[in-house]
Symmetry: C2
Subunit: 210 residues, 2 copies
Amino acid sequence: MARYDTDVQIIPTSVERLITELEKLPGIGPKSASRLAFYLIKTDNQDVDALGNSLLELKQGIQHCRTCFNFSESETCAICASASRDDHQICVVEDPLDIVAIERAGTFKGRYHVLHGAIAPIEGVGPEQLKVAELIERLKDVDGKAGITEVIIATNPNLEGEATALYIQKLIKPLVPKVTRLASGLPMGGDVEYADELTLSRALEGRQEF
Amino acid sequence: MARYDTDVQIIPTSVERLITELEKLPGIGPKSASRLAFYLIKTDNQDVDALGNSLLELKQGIQHCRTCFNFSESETCAICASASRDDHQICVVEDPLDIVAIERAGTFKGRYHVLHGAIAPIEGVGPEQLKVAELIERLKDVDGKAGITEVIIATNPNLEGEATALYIQKLIKPLVPKVTRLASGLPMGGDVEYADELTLSRALEGRQEF
């Protein structure tokens, strides 16, 4: 159990256990985990307990929204339930966190659909593992009633995201008047000088008239 | 309570609470906190519970070793209790985590003394807030019996650490035959070209004959 090759247990067991658990998190290596654990020992009991309890209670009452598959506290998520959102547009994202980012931008006022991943054959993720069938069902279902006029595919601009976008676009084209993709190009505040070739090519391809 | 300026609660309350708690940790900003929280939702219940419980149990049974003030599960920490360590050397460190780092190096076989900080007048930390009196007591106390021959001051090579080292060195010089300081210089695997001026000056000052 001892973390280092010494004759003695230099880290108390409870601390070592916390370090082991923290190391499992993405972006947290052994050194960050140790630093966090030793920081937490010195922190108020109250704060440590609050963090611990919020972890234990994290999944209580979280479910997928039955319409868009976003994380939700009820059967229908707040965005799907909201009367003030535009029913004509659906934005398709890979993850619930993408919704948070898009909401932060604040310009999109339609509904969402969460795929819960992207097509990645190497990792064994095909369309069946994603909420693709559910998207099609949704488009078919509401087509006549709500009149969805546009599906915006907002998967990540990487290999998996692009493949997923292409795949979905083909499937849903017959079902909806307009299928669009988020623009690729230079990030705002960025620098032409530092842009990679692919981004620059995309920015050129997607250039727009003044 | 809603994290973003929208008309709806886009993040479930339990997730939002976890994000708020995670943001309090050092080195974890709002974006990392969100990413971690959404990662944890997708993680096995078992792993999340293990992390939560290890936090809640973290401080149970952790105390300061009454000799060296390292974190310990018993009155005397494992290093102080070990019979195989050299009683003649005491290494003075700022934090328990420094002991972990030095133990990892594996070359020091003596005992430790944890100050629990460094002198930082601006933050209101003086020698009284540190375990300095306890160090002197320890040196006085064991002087005749155990025969401590060297105190190695291993405070951080920054303003506070240097000030602390100087302060302690003056105090303990009459009590112990030899007081030393960790060498400052180029880090191994580093590059002379990229070394900052201060480090390079120290490396020159501390140069050693072959």
